[in-house]
Symmetry: D2
Subunit: 327 residues, 4 copies
């Protein structure tokens, strides 16, 4: 996401918001993104969202796509110099080299790695349902109406932690909009439309089904570690219109070769990252960002088994990962 | 592993080692664990070890075991209070709650998680080939004869980093020695023998094949977060004799519901963690530790597709993970 | 402080508070600790509190006490195994050993230390004015009425950061209540009274003056790294009554050889750490915790130059330190 | 220091070093910087080096310089965006905002700061004797001949840790070479000579005495947070010739408004940071880097009490700090 700042709001903007609050309070039952979205379709206690669509039958559907036994790793290397947004950081060191020498007759030594990072939100990252919320009447409201003031603690989230998701073993679909549009890489602020998605799917001869993981190839990933500044300044991706359509398909997850899946600045620059709200808050649909989809695209693999099991980081907002596609 | 200390050696022991070095130097071609083990069977440049046994055919073999579409998560939650060895630590905090408020009209806010931990060596952990080595003639020698002084840097390993492993999608076998021995949990220092393994396999009606991931159910995992002190003080597991036999089977990986797979203190307390040397250094065979195998054992699932893709932490010694078994 | 929990409130307690809020709201101008305490005596914009009492004249007064040139270090070593409260941690590692080898002809190598810790709130720690606040009408209100929702960001405080304090070079006074009471160590929950303070001062033949740093020797520090559990379970120290009296003296800072200066649980267990609120929130008076006062006490040094310059950690809530007494 | 790399040596350079080792081995008793420098003048066990010159008499000498009670803080703010060398990082976050809410009737809440950084080697930093060493006959040799392989552990140094230094309360001298040369800021690679130092001291009417802390004003600090790239690319400072002269004066410490005190690249680019070796290894003289000396220089304060007590970070290579000058 662009321009992430710890400072919530420019002072002038704050004043504007106060005015807004005074002059145009949200009506009861209304939120900044539309009507209240809770309770969820999976009940008022649900913490897994669209992961509930993952069933043994869906696993078997995915398995049926594996014909060659060929695996594509979609996760990027976590390394110093990778694009990082806002104040996030990544530090990995090896204490001691070796870290420990047991001094035993068998001469055994070993190394650890000391990591410091916003680990679920750097590099290839999976957004859990506790990552993103919406301010509604002064509360930060997340999936299923859970309020951050109730479930957030300094040492992890007591609800919606990424450990609730479980393994995602489902059918994956690659929507190669770059190829559909005949370009190597979509324009920096290109907003993918419903027509684009349908066109790319037609080109590929596949359709989106309920429970799928839908990955977008925009070509933006070509800039990773090559031109980080451009990579982070904006990105092509589906706009809020296309995202609403995606949510209607009952998918489990979106993913892309960019840093936020959806277009930045998107259809309405005043409403940044609105697609996240639509997916995560309203529909419990997950995002997987900073993927490497180049091999899938190059080999025109449009339908595959998609496998990713988030780390069970208790109370975390997201997870790093190395998702795979298998065909 | 127990009693990990940064201090390599007690001063008195140092003196002893010096004496040893003076009086009984290793013969050329000899190491503290036997003859030199390099170059590897996959060539003098290989960094992947037994992962080379993972082939499309092996993926298809694993896929053929998926009949129900049932997934078992084998990874434990990473959380404060979990057993940690030596000086390792785990700290996860959520800055800000929310971490960022964009102050936009759509009211979007989001959270990050700040993690500090020896991430590849806490909780469920996968030992890469850069984790463990053997002191040979004053050099710390790892898989394929690579010397730490050549490939180790303060900011990550330049060889044998866990990013080289790739996804492990293979046949998994559960060796339930606890059940075979008719106990809920093996004794604290029980050394699993070749006979035990063969007996447990016979009981299960399965055999180990080349390229398999072999998981041991010892029952020791019942102590996790219940009695951490006992959990870390020792552990039942295969001894060096059984590990040598395992290596001969050409497997890709061992795993267990304990913290080091192999028995601690093992067959010879003077040679701690010698099984790691045999597997990682000599054979490029990986270890996966602190697994939760209780469900697999309870449901008597002895043969399954095993899927785990280590995080591509560049230059890291290991990876956290949430491996899955699918049948 | 004891029982620090990230969970703000037990659900049942929350309900109680809601009831309380409904039935007995705080009157306008009232806070849970008495009348509103803002604006401060140093103006509505002030961020330094009692540090404003530090003047060149006070420096010269302190200097006049230096007759021998003898220095006492009051800071404890920061090390693994020291008492830590709540979820706080401390991890220090040396990457690489050496961290860097420049490979130049002069053979220069060097080491760094990688630290991860709640650095201003572990070990010897100085509480800045942004460390502690009071919930008033739903806002977290700090010194001078500043509200956390206005000045707090995920990456540091925009007001009251410890970088504002400046160097503390002032007269120090040791109040040795342990010796005054004729014990080596005060009882675990002993509440120091005004009489105790006046008695100890009389015994020492010194008086407290405006701008002083007042250090309490309770003997509790004898438990540091010896019996951490007891050390953290409670502590002797001044109660809220004595703290109010201290604040009236116009001091700059309190300090003690315990973890929170004030008695825990204190005069009213329902009002934990109330002395902090009185000092930090209402009077801008600082606390310095986990000091080693054993030498000062043993040598009966009751009046001295006290010198401590907090690290200018921008936006931090506190600072580690190694304060000194000089006579 | 420039071009810090985790990779010790470029492969080509390695080869060169091997050749060097073959063709021109160091003679016994020789090191890459001259004859062996151990045992130290304070005995073969000494770990404090020039800090041994700090005596009560020296404290009183410093105190005698305090006439006005005016304090100058010489430490810079530690903050995101400050210059960092090599792979070092700095991350400070506030968990929770507030971090903890005790849920008590007095409404007390508090914040911690979570820090991750190479804390003794970022921002204003004090180099302890365990920071830097010299490769001699394959060993990394530090002050007093201590070898890193003996005293270094992954979790801190067992000798020469910064906790041994103790408080530095001594006479400080400012050598304002920028003013002496009539410039606002010395040229990027200017090497300060003995004549420059003597000229600047004459201008100031002060002399260096044994036990002093000698601070260099180069004007380079004007670039801090203004042009970090230039700040880190090189720096003016004393060359090895001037540093040898400084060491002869029996001082305790050097300091400067640049990142390494000494000139970079210095008199011989093939021998980077050689002044550190001369000071730290051979003479136990400390360095204090990234100081803010602008006020001292502007007010032409050339002689003062200098006070700095390093954090007692056990086994650390250095310490952050906020040193002060008082006059």
């Amino acid at each position: 996401m662009t321009q992430k700042r710890a400072l919530s709001i420019h002072p002038a903007a704050r004043f504007g918001l106060v005015l807004l609050a005074v002059l145009a309070p949200l009506a009861a039952g209304q939120t900044p993104t539309g009507p209240e979205w809770w309770p969820s379709e999976w009940g008022a206690d649900d913490e897994r969202g669209a992961a509930n669509r993952l069933t043994p039958a869906k696993v078997l559907e995915a398995v049926s796509l594996i014909e060659e036994g060929r695996i594509y790793e979609l996760g990027r290397a976590y390394e110093t110099g990778m694009p990082l947004f806002g104040n996030r950081h990544f530090s990995l060191t090896i204490p001691g080299l070796p870290t420990t020498d047991l001094g035993a007759e068998n001469g055994v030594v070993f190394n650890d790695e000391m990591l410091s990072a916003e680990i679920g939100q750097v590099g290839t990252q999976f957004d859990g349902l506790g990552h993103l919320g919406t301010e509604v009447h002064g509360e930060h409201v997340f999936y299923n109406g859970f309020e951050l003031s109730d479930f957030g603690t300094s040492y992890g989230l007591e609800k919606l932690g990424v450990e609730n998701v479980g393994a995602i073993f489902t059918r994956g679909v690659l929507v190669d909009v770059a190829r559909y549009k005949g370009v190597e890489r979509l324009d920096p602020t290109y907003v993918i439309t419903i027509d684009d998605i349908e066109g790319a799917l037609d080109m590929a001869g596949v359709a989106i089904r309920e429970g799928d993981a839908v990955l977008f190839h925009t070509g933006w990933g070509q800039l990773w570690m090559v031109d980080n500044e451009t990579y982070g300044a904006s990105e092509p991706g589906p706009g809020i219109t296309a995202i609403k359509w995606l949510a209607e398909q009952g998918i489990v997850m979106t993913g892309a070769d960019n840093y936020a899946v959806e277009a930045v600045p998107g259809e309405n620059p005043e409403r940044p990252i609105e697609g996240h709200q639509w997916l995560l808050n309203r529909h419990g649909i997950y995002n997987l960002e900073n993927l490497d989809l180049s091999e899938l695209a190059a080999e025109r693999v449009y339908e595959f088994a998609f496998v990713f099991a988030p780390l069970k980081l208790k109370g975390a907002t997201g997870s790093p990962g190395n998702p795979i596609a298998v065909r």
